[in-house]
């Protein structure tokens, strides 16, 4: 399982990359592997709207399941990755390049609550 040490993680299998006061959010290699072939992503909030940590920011459909993507941090939704609407399979091919949403962080303290790569890996160890 690929878990880059440069990123932060959530228990709900999102990765977060902190770039200044922006959080870039995607789903982990483990998540895409469990979902299998991803065929659709939808239900993004409007750009500019405020998102709350733990609330749904997208819905992913794979050939065998439907999964929700949660906001890893609270803030203002700056952008969504429009490429994914046309090519959702990018989430399978390169989960750490295929970002889903960019959020302007309004509660920097929440970053401390995110998991490190080791912490995320531990979630899977017995």
């Amino acid at each position: 399982m690929n878990v880059p040490s440069t990123l932060k993680y959530t228990k709900t299998h999102e990765w977060v990359k902190i770039e200044g006061n922006t959080a870039v959010i995607g789903i982990t290699d483990h998540a895409q592997h469990e979902l299998t072939d991803i065929v659709y992503i939808d239900d993004f909030p409007d750009i500019g709207s405020s998102v709350e940590k733990g609330k749904i920011i997208a819905i992913i459909e794979s050939v065998k399941a439907v999964a929700e993507v949660y906001a890893a941090v609270s803030g203002e939704l700056l952008a969504i990755n429009a490429d994914l609407e046309k090519s959702p399979e990018l989430l399978n091919k390169a989960p750490y390049d295929a970002w889903i949403a960019k959020v302007k962080i309004t509660k920097p303290d929440e970053i401390n609550g995110l998991l490190s790569a080791d912490g995320y890996k531990k979630e899977f160890s017995p």
Partner: protein, 456 residues
């Protein structure tokens, strides 16, 4: 597999767990007055035509003949209002009765169900063509529930809004179904005339439902209405709702008119009236985004992962409950496969030329009666525009309506629908329907009955 019912001990232990002392207690939310006890059951069987005990086949047949003789068989019928009297070619009954179709169930197992999947695919293709839309599903239960699902799709598109605007007269049963199903969502329904659409639009409108032809049979200019709506607000979902699918053969398709979703009732396409059901719900959508929100099954055409063969498969089922569980976008877990098949065979039997021809006969005969009744003293046509195979006539004296219907009954004709019986605001209005089944003699006879009823 054996059917093994619960033993008395098992029932006792289960009741202990849930904390009830008897089965009666378990079902005590059911009102006592509707329970069928022994005495009531006996009285019910005595008063009904149902036999008290088993019969030999020969007795049963004789009994059923007696029961069937109680049905009133009309020589001619002039009522539509959502269920239509059309000719069904023999090909329909013959082909659906083939055991390959007759015994099939939902084709989850694509490798064993290629024939049925192909039939569904053909149906979807024909419905899409008729509706002028890109995608159709494998059918819904009926027109009214199809409308409910279309509105739910629109709600997903415009989550923060709460008004559904209805243009033209909506079939009151459809409106009741929509209000009932959407009650927990707190949706407001606003009925408007086509002319007042631009003024009626506000920022709370999530969808506009264009009833075409409407409940009174009037043909609306869907394209003009959609243009007026979209000019004000592009995000409003435009839905055309059609209760007489045959009209699609002649009128501009909802897709060409710019609608996002088409829903309707396809009982007209090869399905008997059957005392009002089961029928066949149509749904079709224009764009890819709505395709992902469309309820029900969809059959696709695809290539094998290994090899060069093509085949049919169920696809995009991620909206359904077996995948989505509590996140399912629709409660539709089934469809009307047999009626869907009837419609597919009907459409294929007639072809596009045949469908247009039948639709033309409907318009011509309905207009023939309309022109006859136009001249009757005290009769006024209330449709503001052209009509398809139905039209509504208002009379000043409601007694005339009752006389027309009574005289029709006496002559074994099912007369027009007394709209006053549905809603008092429609007292004195009769809804007439004429199809290819009503020959000129029958139409003339009805014309004479109306003329006489108006002068008595």
């Amino acid at each position: 597999m054996d059917y093994i019912p619960h033993s008395d001990e098992e029932i006792q232990s289960m009741m202990q767990v849930v904390g009830v002392s008897s089965l009666e207690d378990l079902f005590d939310t059911v009102p006592r007055c509707i329970l069928l006890d022994d005495a009531k059951a006996k009285a019910f069987f005595k008063s009904s035509a149902l036999p008290m005990q088993g019969m030999a086949e020969i007795e049963l047949k004789a009994h059923m003949n007696i029961v069937a003789a109680g049905n009133k068989i009309y020589r001619s019928m002039f009522q539509g209002a959502g269920s239509y009297w059309h000719f069904i070619p023999a090909t329909v009954d013959y082909l659906v009765s083939r055991s390959e179709f007759w015994t099939s169930y939902t084709p989850y197992q694509a490798e064993r169900s290629q024939g049925y999947l192909q039939a569904i695919f053909e149906y979807q293709s024909m419905v899409a063509e008729l509706a002028g839309m890109k995608y159709s599903n494998a059918s819904l239960h009926d027109g009214a529930t199809a409308l409910v699902d279309a509105i739910i799709m629109a709600i997903f598109q415009n989550k923060k809004r709460g008004t559904v605007m209805i243009v033209g007269q909506i079939n009151p049963f459809y409106l009741t179904a929509a209000k009932t199903a959407l009650m927990p969502r707190n949706i407001t329904f606003k009925q408007v005339d086509p002319e007042t659409v631009p003024q009626a639009i506000n920022e709370d409108v999530l969808a506009v439902v264009i009833c075409n032809p409407d409940f009174f049979g009037t043909i609306l200019d869907t394209a003009a209405i959609v243009n007026a709506v979209k000019a004000k607000d592009k995000s409003i979902v435009a839905i055309q709702c059609t209760t007489e699918a045959l009209s699609l053969a002649l009128l501009k398709s909802p897709g060409a008119a710019g609608c996002d979703i088409f829903v309707g009732e396809a009982q007209s396409l090869g399905i008997p009236m059957c005392f009002g059901g089961p029928a066949l719900g149509l749904i079709a959508v224009m764009d890819n985004k709505l395709l992902h929100k469309m309820p029900g099954r969809i059959v696709g055409f695809t290539k094998e992962t290994s090899g060069d063969r093509y085949g049919f498969t169920l696809t995009l089922t991620a909206r359904e409950q077996h995948i989505r569980r509590e996140k399912a976008l629709s409660n539709i877990c089934s469809n009307e496969a047999l009626n869907m098949l009837r419609a597919a065979i009907y459409m294929a039997s007639l072809g596009s030329t045949g469908l247009c021809h039948v639709a033309e006969i409907n318009v011509k005969r309905a207009n023939y009666l309309k022109n006859k009744l136009r001249d009757v003293n005290g009769f006024s046509i209330i449709n503001k525009g052209p009509t398809f195979n139905e039209f509504a006539i208002k009379v000043d004296d409601d007694a005339v309506v009752k006389r027309v219907i009574k005289e029709c009954e006496a002559n074994d004709i099912l007369g027009p629908l007394d709209l006053g019986s549905l809603d008092s605001k429609w007292a004195g209005i009769m809804l007439f329907c004429v199809t290819e089944m009503n020959d000129v003699d029958a139409i003339n006879e009805l014309g004479t009955i109306c003329l006489e009823a108006s002068t008595k």
